[in-house]
């Protein structure tokens, strides 16, 4: 046996490690939470790391999971040891190929970080709905419950697949295990090699398709033979369980770690047993041991490792003979079934064994099934206990749920949340941080330090909220002398760190601390004011629980050490200094060692900065004396305003307050419907600074409102009389465009993220003081109360009549009310200004199909919703179907709307005389292009409705139901480049070709932003992205040109930071075009590594260099003899390198691939030059003959000039 080597890794890395070591070809595609497995593989390949066969695996990104499965199938058929990674919808897309791979008895291992399937909602978190959807494919299913098991089972799966020829799906719980960090023993290469018999590899290769020994597979078979042929492989499935057990035994001989197909833990004479798989089994094991030892119970748990093929023989043998009751726990829901899948397996296994006489039980056990842990719902020892308590009942509740309060169907079991089984020897630390402050990174680093320097076992789990800006992170760290099996969050912490004081305003943190625990606070308050800065309820708990309080002004230390807002090293140093996990001096030395190791590659100055921070920390950390009495005069704030609607207060408010787990089933809508317009109640107050308007120099250009990613800077124009009730500090000025009226710009102080893009956009410089613009940033806290009052007043000002707004120029168009506001997008997001623009221009008559990605997450991730309504209750209706089908989804909406309109028009004609000829005629034939015309049609529809109510016929009632469709509806299909260029391109292409009137908005960030910046076909040549670690070798796909090839589609390429007027024009034209329109909208992104406070200057350089070109292709132009293509970009005026060097995704090439840097920059310039020449040529073509070639009549088309 080799010398043991321990590493501290998460589940994904452990899975990727084994998969990489065995594979020759790895086909990948990003999907949460499995993306890191592909990323690790790609990184290792780019670093030249070899597999156990001595070659560097070929890691290849495909356009979808379906594509990856196809590539895997092909690679397997051609003889390569091949793997892939995925989860959730990705696994569903692989299913067709999985049947083929299994049907051809092809060895492979897929690693799956099991994740919830989208149903009434999407969830990125973990459960077994995905792997259960694949259980019928013929793949073997092998479950792991810990990070160590993931590495181990990965090897067992490979050895078993090669022996059995059954392909394996190796799964573990998404996030809970895939992202849990643990200290584990690495499998050395010699163990990996010994696990696999090379003869079996050779056999796999010998079966490969080769012209040197040709065979044919994939025949089409007929009723006469298919059935028999399908039955030929039964033996392989029958043999598989024994093979897996033999491989587990071999593994045990090599490593000392013994696994079984079904591992039983508990009293050998237990009567009540839980059957469960993956991480839930770990919770159950610890709880069973605790219950047996401390509460005198005789219970057990059977952990399922090999779920398919399900071996009845091994299952029955693993259960105690004394078993009387079995609770089978499924982490999935199968509505309409007689039970969930594992439950049904157990029922049939026990029944069959009893029938066959092979079961050892006195009588057939009572088997009940229950659901737990959907979408990573916590599964705790308390819940396990509740299940055993249920089993103890004479009539246990069947088809129960645990972990929730089901007050509708009454399925849930009660549990005691204070029940705690964790031994005192385990150190438990909770850390509340902001995403931007580096807390999670520091904690991951602390785990490595402790793991590397002690014999302690370590565990880290990290929670993030659903926002991309100002997000809260909670780190759960455990250390202890014994193996840690606690895949659930910490609720009884010995140490709790609050890295930002704002959390004290919102959350009851101290409730999570045990008596005598330690509380560490980062606070800007001076030492003698810290105690009183704590809310009353927290003070009381600190006193009652005798908590020791430490504090530091980490922000000040960070700034003095040159760290900016990152307080990671400082808070990490505090943790080590006071937690006592390591001896003080050793801890500090290890932190410094770790800093040198972590940051050394990024330069000595970064190292020095962090080392300075460590030293400065120790000098600034102090103990806060705790008095005997509560002295504070304030308490934590309610999560939302008491004025908010009931649903917001009692459902969303509870989620915001961190109490979503406690909401009962009855609180929720039944079909996924969720109210819009609720983000306005979630006052996040995340901006350190907010813009302040100087009306004395403002030129009313409207650019600030246009670029604001969160709609938190607004413009209104209104009558003078409104000001009579204005608060004293409310600002206004005479409107330049609307004579006699008043103009105001107002900031939503609690919704602004402080991104500063509005300030960048402001073109006004004070002539007397060039430092000053019409918008300057100022600290938020001193302004908060004043501006809250101003904002509330601003909201009461009536919106301007849309028909009086010229929406072809930004200064007026920006007066239109945004119906997309305060989303959770990144501060400075480059996508949301476009989304908001759609909501302003067309929102009150728009239906949106939104592809999965950033825009679906900031568009609809709970707790609140940014899509909102106007005063008439009109606003965008929105849905997200999937990632891959969005264009089709939107087309379906168009077809339905057109059909409803058609029905309405037919009924209208039919009812003509009853309604009145003039009205019918106007309703059927009036133009609906301008806002004024649309407003008139709305009025006509209202008149129609009132008339219809008077007509008592079936047709009149039917027309009343569909009358609103007589107002023109706009369908928008929105998504990112991952959707449009890659996974959804087939559908997109079809929809463009359809000729239907849909508007496609591609938010082009040139990477898969939402999953962390993986390369898409939109990524430009030379750009660094995940899966393109050495720079993307091929140029960006020209989606616009492909769309133009259809010649019937309106196509535009825009970049608002470079030319906002052109953007506006394109949106108006696209919507007006009666056919498919596609706008490819450049969206700067945090994944580009740019200065997010100045993204507009980057966009300007982008277009000035020709890297992005602006154009509009309007097929209608041809009808008036004009060239359809208008090139709005001038010839490149700066070298492309001047733009590229402004973004880390390009510039970093010089740091990691200097030769590539030079080569790619040259190629990028060449590409830009060629493309501009080609577009110039296309834009200059003469189309005057086109009219003659058609019917010879030159026409006038409205909107074309």
């Amino acid at each position: 046996m080799s010398e043991k080597r321990f590493i501290t890794v998460d589940g994904n890395e452990a899975a990727a490690y084994t998969a990489y070591r065995y594979s020759e070809v790895i086909a990948i595609y990003p999907i949460t939470p499995s993306s890191p497995m592909g990323e690790f593989s790609d990184e290792w390949a780019s670093k030249g790391i070899k597999n156990i066969w001595g070659s560097i695996p070929t890691v290849y990104e495909m356009q979808s999971e379906g594509g990856a499965a196809g590539a895997v199938h092909g690679a397997l058929q051609a003889g390569a040891l091949t793997t892939t990674f995925t989860a959730s919808q990705g696994l569903l897309l692989k299913i067709p190929n999985m049947y083929k791979i299994a049907g051809e008895l092809t060895p492979t291992v897929f690693n799956i970080s099991a994740r919830t399937l989208s149903t009434h909602a999407l969830s990125i978190f973990g459960d077994h709905s995905d792997i259960n959807a694949a259980r019928q494919t013929g793949f073997a299913l092998l479950a792991s419950s810990t990070v160590q098991e993931i590495m181990d089972m990965g090897a067992i799966a490979w050895s078993a697949t090669l022996r059995s020829r059954i392909p394996f799906l190796h799964f573990f719980d998404g996030f809970r295990t895939s992202h849990e960090v643990q200290k584990i023993e690495v499998l050395p290469d010699d163990v990996l090699s010994q696990m696999v018999d090379y003869e079996l590899v050779k056999a796999h290769k010998d079966r490969a398709l080769s012209p040197d020994h040709p065979v044919l597979r994939g025949t089409a078979q007929n009723p006469d033979v298919f059935f028999q042929n399908r039955e030929t492989m039964n033996k392989y499935y029958d043999d598989c369980p024994d093979i897996v057990q033999e491989e587990m035994d071999k593994f045990a001989r090599l490593t000392g770690r013994q696994y079984h197909l079904f591992d039983y833990v508990g009293d050998p004479n237990a009567e009540n047993v839980i059957v469960i798989m993956a991480s839930g089994a770990d919770v159950s094991r610890d709880t069973v041991e605790y219950l047996n030892k401390n509460l005198g119970k005789k219970v057990g748990v059977l952990q399922v490792h090999l779920y398919r093929p399900f071996s009845i023989k091994h299952f029955i043998a693993a259960l105690p003979k004394t078993t009387k009751k079995i609770a089978v726990l499924d982490r999935t829901k199968e509505p309409g079934a007689t039970g969930e899948p594992l439950y049904l397996d157990v029922v049939s296994a026990v029944y069959e064994a009893m029938q066959d006489g092979t079961a050892p039980f006195e009588k057939i056990p009572n088997i009940i099934g229950g659901r737990y842990g959907l979408s990573s719902k916590e599964f705790t020892p308390s819940m396990v206990k509740s299940i055993f308590d249920n089993l103890e009942n004479s009539k246990p509740k069947k088809h129960f749920t645990t972990g929730i309060n089901d007050d509708v169907n009454f399925t849930s079991l009660d549990f005691d949340p204070t029940f705690n089984i964790e031994p005192d020897s385990v150190f438990r630390g909770l850390f509340y941080g902001l995403g931007s402050d580096g807390t999670v990174g520091a904690n991951k680093n602390s785990i490595k330090i402790i793991g590397d320097n002690t014999d302690y076992y370590c565990q880290g789990y990290f929670e993030y909220d659903s926002k991309k800006s100002g997000s809260i992170t909670i780190s759960h760290l455990r250390f202890g002398p014994d193996l840690i099996r606690a895949p659930y969050k910490i609720t009884h912490a010995k140490f709790l760190a609050c890295h930002q004081t704002i959390f004290l305003e919102k959350y009851d943190l101290i409730k999570n601390l045990v008596k005598g625990g330690v509380f560490l606070l980062n606070t800007p308050f001076p030492k003698d004011e810290v105690w009183n800065s704590l809310p009353k309820s927290q003070q009381k708990q600190i006193i009652d629980k005798k908590i020791k309080v430490y504090a530091i002004d980490a922000q000040k230390v960070a700034e003095e050490s040159g760290m900016g807002r990152r307080i990671n090293t400082i808070m990490q140093t505090c943790f080590f200094a006071i937690s006592g996990v390591l001896p003080g001096d050793q801890a500090i030395e290890e932190i410094k060692k770790s800093i040198r190791k972590t940051y050394g590659k990024k330069g000595e100055n970064v190292v020095k900065m962090n080392l300075d921070a460590v030293d400065n920390t120790l000098a600034n950390l102090y103990v806060v004396p705790v008095p005997e009495q509560v002295t504070s005069e304030w308490d934590t704030f309610p999560a939302v305003s008491p004025k908010a609607p009931e649903f917001v207060k009692y459902v969303e408010g509870e989620i915001i307050a961190g109490r979503g787990d406690e909401l009962p089933v009855s609180a929720f809508p039944i079909d996924g419907t969720w109210p819009t317009g609720t983000a306005q109640y979630e006052k996040r107050n995340i901006a350190l600074e907010i813009p302040v308007w100087d009306e004395s120099i403002c030129i009313q250009c409207g650019k600030c409102a246009l670029v604001c990613p969160h709609a938190s800077i607004r413009i209104k124009v209104y009558g003078q009389n409104i000001l009579e009730n204005a608060p004293p500090t409310f600002k206004s000025m005479p409107s330049k465009d609307y004579k006699g009226e008043i103009y105001s710009i107002q900031i939503a102080p609690e919704d602004c993220t402080g991104c500063k893009v509005c300030v960048e956009s402001c073109p006004v410089v004070d002539k007397k003081n060039p430092k000053h613009k019409a918008l300057d940033m100022n600290p938020q806290i001193p302004l908060r109360e004043q501006e809250k009052v101003n904002w509330d007043f601003f909201l009461t000002i009536p919106e301007k009549d849309r028909s009086t707004i010229q929406n072809t120029n930004i200064r007026q168009q920006q007066i239109q009310q945004p119906l997309f506001e305060f989303s959770g997008a990144c501060a400075g997001c480059g996508e949301t200004p476009y989304v908001k623009l759609v909501s302003q221009m067309f929102g009150d008559r728009t239906v949106i199909a939104n592809a999965t990605g950033c825009s679906s997450i900031y568009g609809a991730n709970l707790p609140t919703t940014p899509w909102t309504i106007n005063k008439n209750g009109k606003g965008p209706a929105w849905n997200n179907s999937l990632f891959e089908d969005n264009a089709e989804f939107g087309l379906g909406m168009r077809l339905a709307i057109d059909k409803q309109e058609e029905i309405a028009r037919n009924l209208l004609s039919k009812l003509g005389s009853a309604i009145g000829g003039d009205l019918v005629n106007q309703l059927l034939n009036s133009n609906q292009k301008s806002e004024e015309e649309i407003a008139s049609q709305r009025q006509r529809v209202e008149i129609l409705k009132s008339k219809l109510k008077e007509i008592n016929t079936v047709d009149a009632k039917r027309l009343l139901d569909v009358a609103d469709y007589l107002v023109r509806k706009s369908v928008w299909i929105i998504g990112g480049d991952g959707w449009a260029y890659d996974i959804g391109y087939g559908g997109l292409d079809h929809v463009i070709a359809s000729g239907k009137n849909v508007n496609i908005l591609v938010l082009d960030t040139e990477v898969y932003s939402n999953t962390g910046g993986q390369m898409s076909k939109s990524s430009p040549i030379g750009s660094i992205a995940k899966f393109a670690a050495s720079g993307k070798p091929t140029p960006k796909k020209d989606l616009g040109m492909m769309a133009m090839a259809y010649s019937n589609a309106y196509v535009a390429s825009v970049a608002f930071g470079s030319n906002d007027a052109q953007t506006l024009k394109a949106f108006a034209e696209a919507e007006a075009y009666d056919g498919p329109s596609i706008i490819i909208a450049y969206s700067h992104c945090i994944a580009h590594g740019i200065d997010m406070e100045h993204p507009l200057s980057v966009q300007k350089a982008l277009v000035d260099s020709g890297q992005w070109i602006l154009y509009r292709y309007n097929p209608n132009n041809k009808l008036v003899g004009k060239n359809p293509l208008t090139l709005d970009s001038k010839a490149p005026k700066i070298p492309v390198a001047q733009y590229l060097d402004q973004e880390t995704r390009y510039k970093m090439l010089s740091k990691i691939n200097p030769a590539g840097y030079k080569k790619f920059y040259e190629e990028a310039q060449e590409f830009v030059n060629d493309r501009y020449k080609y577009y110039s040529y296309l834009a200059q073509r003469d189309f005057s003959d086109f009219v003659k070639q058609t019917d010879g009549n030159v026409r006038t088309i409205e909107g074309v000039n």
Binding site: T32, P33, P36, E39, D42, E43, S46, K47, I124, F175, H179, G435, S436, G438, T439, V440, G441, F462, E463, Y464, K467, K468, S471, T473, G562, G564, R566, Y599, K601, K602, G603, E604, N605, V606, V765, K767, P770, C826, I857, S1009, N1010, T1011, G1012, G1013, I1024, A1025, K1026, A1029, I1086, A1087, G1089, I1090, M1092, T1144, R1145, M1148, S1150, K1151, I1152, P1154
Partner: protein, 332 residues
């Protein structure tokens, strides 16, 4: 005819030296210049301040927004190593040494004493034949006395010099109250050469945007007069080499500097304007002039027009300026 020159203890194939400039970022261009007869190469300056900024910027962008959101815990691949600017620079020294046959001089602009010393040592270790210290900052502290600034410069030089085994040159600006005195102080602490003078990129104001913008202009021949004067004054009175830089665009400009007393002349704008092949013209023109004047070697005419050697030494002093101004007025 011998056009070889001597500088910093090395024999150079010509008195034309590439001054610190962006040209040196391209190793192929250095090889070409070396092949065409350049005497030595001063690599572009390594700015410590820029290095710090670059490192911090990379760190910022690689960490900004990470570990904040469950689906995107990072945005870039993880690399084991980054080739940061110092490594790039040191690699450039190594490559230049391998691929050219001329002395390679590293150029350094530090901000801290530790930085000056560390980077200078690394350059020496990487194989630099000499180091040029580009000592320059804009003192904007009203309380800072001129003596303190000069003392700090001398201290830096002394510290660096004491740690290195290779020659060290000082590239200076002319903005000293008594330049001669300051030059002498550097001579005293062991400088091997003075490079006269540094040209700074001066700011400009954009009257449309009301923004201050850096203005980069290439030098003209008229820019070389101040160096010419001081080289002529220094020659023979100070115990170190002199290199002329700034406004040397033609062989004639270079010859003037050599006549004034420069050991070598440093050029960049000439190549930026005319291309690298201009090196051939420079050499041909030098040959032609030497032929006309019947000089057999460059060494022969270096300093023949220094203040010490000219019949009218006061021509280099202030009175001459008054005279020139008067002549200028007369020409109106």
């Amino acid at each position: 005819m011998n056009i070889k020159a001597k500088y910093l203890g090395y024999e150079l194939q010509s008195p034309f030296v590439l001054s610190a400039s962006p040209i040196s970022q391209d190793i192929d261009k250095l090889v070409k210049l070396s092949d065409l007869g350049i005497g030595a190469i001063v690599l572009h300056s390594l700015f410590e301040e820029q290095l710090i900024d670059e490192e911090l910027e990379l760190e910022y962008h690689l960490t900004h927004g990470t570990e904040s959101f469950s689906e995107a815990q990072s945005f870039f691949p993880n690399y084991d190593d980054y080739r940061m600017a110092p490594e790039e620079y040191l690699e450039l020294i190594q490559k230049a040494k391998q691929r050219t046959n001329v002395p390679i001089i590293g150029s350094l602009n530090g901000t801290s004493i530790g930085g000056w010393i560390d980077y200078a040592i690394k350059m020496e270790e990487a194989g630099a034949d000499a180091i040029e210290l580009n000592i320059y900052n804009i003192p904007t502290d009203f309380g800072l006395h001129a003596d303190e600034i000069e003392d700090a410069y001398v201290h830096i030089f002394q510290q660096v010099k004491s740690k290195l085994h290779i020659p060290v040159a000082a590239k200076l600006s002319p903005y000293f109250t008594n330049f001669a005195n300051f030059a002498k102080r550097l001579d005293y602490v062991g400088a091997n050469s003075l490079v006269l003078f540094n040209r700074f990129y001066q700011p400009d104001i954009n009257v449309d945007t009301l923004e201050v913008e850096p203005k980069v202009t290439l030098s003209n021949s008229s820019d070389n007069r101040i160096a010419l004067r001081w080289i002529a004054i220094m020659k023979g009175r100070i115990n170190l080499d002199l290199a002329a830089t700034g406004g040397i665009l033609t062989a004639k400009d270079a010859i003037k500097m050599l006549l004034a007393g420069a050991n070598v002349t440093m050029m960049f704008a000439a190549f930026a304007r005319n291309g690298l092949d201009y090196m051939k013209t420079l050499i041909a023109d030098l040959h032609q002039w030497m032929e006309e004047k019947e000089y057999s070697s460059v060494e022969e005419f270096i300093g023949v027009m220094s203040q010490k050697n000219v019949p009218n030494p006061s021509a280099y002093e202030r009175a001459q300026y008054m005279k020139a101004l008067n002549e200028y007025k007369l020409n109106f």
